[in-house]
Symmetry: C3
Subunit: 343 residues, 3 copies
């Protein structure tokens, strides 16, 4: 892909702090996979399964581990972690910035808010009283920040984000459009006839280096806070219930629903559209595969799954009929075993 | 947790209409669980399993049933339903109100709309022609109300809510940020080559005392209305299809998808991330456990589930291989039984 | 249902290009099902199972296939596809238009944008530099269009829609409120300690005649584009991952999550709350039933399912215990068979 920015390979090597073997004046105007690259592209080899594509790769330069240096006919950048170096390179070609510097005159900012000069505030933003905002923050179109909420430095709230009151957000946090942080947790007391609202008096505390996708919702706690720890990455359409705690550097993939009062450890991966029941704990380094439900606490690291694989619907119906008979099947089997053993 | 409001215990007892045993001048500045409470806190015992925490509880006062009155060393409020009384107490400490009284000058309100003086309308709200709004409504930042929609009294639309045209909303309804009420139901007629849109001519009718979470969507009906009855509580990220009817006081937990033309009874609980196929009925008092699919109508009250529990992925794969063979396993078992019986 | 528009039956026949048998001056003021219709209604018979309702139907006119012409006592419109004709009729009675003609003065439109006179732009819209907009587009309240994005003719973005930069949208595309198109795909490189963001340099390309529901998210690609082909219909609360390609005229029902780098064929139907793992392909004409996970590529057309049916929870628990033992059950069965055969 060709982007709107270009660099010499020497500049790229310098930005990424990598050793360059080849022509430092070669112009790089985009990034591409080994297979899709052509002149002007920087590519990368992060998976040795694709090493056979190196020779025929048409990129002007490739990021590789040192051991592949001899295989490439083109310019190379040597990295211990080519995939991480590639990630760093994507930052060089990002031209997504939409927001003019400064504060748009239509933004309504309470007089109690001391906005740093480095802030970029788009049209139709509303910032309520008592809000504190760090350096170099970008607040997109139509975003709302409720009273007494704090943002650290280098945060980017995209357009139409809604942050309720008293939320605490660390440094270098990205929140994509349509997400809602700090709405009321789902709590009611049943009085025998109707549900009485439990007003949600806690809030949400988000650490540093967190990214939150679009249309994701993180509820405020009932009495204590909901906590998203440093380095957590949350995809789109995720729901996180009140008083839940997500440990450092855990990854929550799209469409996942985490119930209330759940504790998830560090370096966990909740796959796409997974779920948990409430009031459970999940240990560090747990991976949950796509669309699985965690139905009780998990105390050991490892990979966990629930559900069944897809099948042709006709065959699946037959398996489902038998699933309903499964307890009886097991008992009948035991009976036969008993009979066989008695002979 | 300490909040921004405080009361004497006598004031709290009077608000909650509870009998006070102890010091009516004791100052309460927050609510906490038995375990997390300290001086100045009001706590509660709603589950007898935690009665052993009463003695060591550091709260300044506790809401308990009469039978526990003797156990507490501290001030007590006696309630027949401590959890409901606690819910009522949370209202006293809620300081979430973000909206200035009156109508912000940037709100664009059609001249046909007679807004009561009690209305609070935030910046950048748009209210279209023919809209009717009751007393004491709060309309948050950037919310949109389509033409001819009606709101009852005491409604709170949080920021960035979108209500399409001709929606009917009762009294005391809360809708959280990012939710969309009355967008087109998903209906198309296939002409053999492409899908022809069925314009959705019905609307959405929401009763009294309904709460709707954030990023929830309730579609307008095709010809008749989608109906959300009195007292229904809907969590975040819920999708309700066109022409569906949710009965009184039913609870729909987060990430649930209810298809079109479904009728759900009264006092049902759809657990988190549950789903239903379309065109079915679910009786009153049905509970569906987390992530279950209701694949046909349910005529009896009770608890229903689908899916499988989480397991270590390696073990789960083995079970899944066998699930695919389940019909054959059942037939082979029957064959063996036949052989055994013939002997 | 009675709507705000009315037509003579002759006008309706002419609009739908259908043969009329009966009174062309009969006034039609609404559409209804056979069962719910009364005087002034136009109804339709699309499913022969309901043919017995024709005789007692109180509608002023009915759309039927020619073979039913004799059965009706009332006026009829003869159609080869009554359901498609009904869909076309709904367009006649749609009175949902909320937007005033012209551009509201509060819309902030970059001076580089050449807006056609036919455009309708609601209050508080923001349109960034380099955006191109075709004829007859309607942009709802508070919508945001990022820089260099292009819209074809006859597009309707409802209120509070967020379109990021450089997105390409074809002709006749409808996007409902709260949806987010072009937010960053979910991509990170793990450096052994933390996740490094992979900036998403691709974009989203949406074809012609696409409809996208409310609170749906379609992520921009990492290096190449995410692609939604012509005629695709996407419901509410759907998540489509980066670099995924949806083939022409496929239907994605509500709450579905499609992972990244997935290719879905033409004329597929992903049922409600379905999901896919990443990096797989699905053939043309595949149907996936509600809440199923597609866990590997599907190369043959047909119907596919995963999961289990709902059961009473007590019975379901017994089946689940046995599901965990399923590999052992299968092995014990084989052992018994061996013993039986050895005799």
């Amino acid at each position: 892909m060709t982007h709107n920015k270009s660099y010499t390979l020497g500049e790229v090597a310098s930005h990424l702090n990598l050793e360059l073997v080849g022509d430092k004046n070669c112009v790089i105007h985009g990034l591409a996979s080994l297979r899709n690259s052509s002149t002007g592209h920087l590519s990368f080899l992060s998976n040795s399964a694709y090493a056979n594509q190196l020779e025929s790769c048409a990129a002007s330069a490739v990021i590789v581990e040192a051991k592949y240096a001899g295989v490439c006919k083109t310019n190379i950048l040597i990295s211990k972690s080519p995939y991480v170096s590639f990630a760093e390179a994507t930052a060089l070609f990002d031209d997504s910035d939409n927001t003019e510097p400064g504060v748009h005159p239509s933004a309504i900012i309470d007089s109690s808010v001391k906005l740093p000069e480095s802030a970029q505030v788009a049209p139709y933003v509303v910032i309520e009283s008592g809000v504190s905002i760090g350096e170099n923050c970008v607040i997109g179109h139509g975003a709302y920040i409720g009273k007494n909420t704090t943002l650290g430095n280098d945060c980017h709230l995209h357009g139409n984000v809604s942050i309720y009151h008293q939320v605490s957000i660390g440094n270098n946090v990205i929140i994509h459009s349509g997400s809602v942080i700090g709405a009321d947790g789902f709590g009611f007391a049943f009085d025998g006839e109707k549900f009485v609202k439990i007003h949600q008096l806690g809030s949400v505390q988000i650490g540093n280096d967190v990214e939150i996708g679009s249309c994701t919702t993180i509820d405020r706690g009932a009495l204590e806070n909901t906590v998203i720890s440093d380095g957590v990455k949350i995809d789109n359409q995720v729901q996180i219930g009140h008083n839940t705690i997500i440990g450092e550097h855990s990854v929550i993939c799209g469409c996942t629903g985490i119930s209330g009062s759940v504790t998830i450890g560090k370096y966990c991966v909740m796959g796409g559209a997974t779920g948990t029941v409430g009031h459970i704990s999940i240990a560090d380094h747990v991976k949950v595969s796509a669309m699985s439900l965690v139905s009780e606490s998990i105390s050991e690291p490892g990979s966990y799954s629930s559900g069944t694989w897809h099948m042709k619907t006709t065959q699946w119906k037959r398996s489902n009929i038998r699933f309903q008979q499964l307890d009886s099947i097991a008992k009948r089997l035991k009976e036969l075993e008993k009979m066989a053993n008695e002979k």
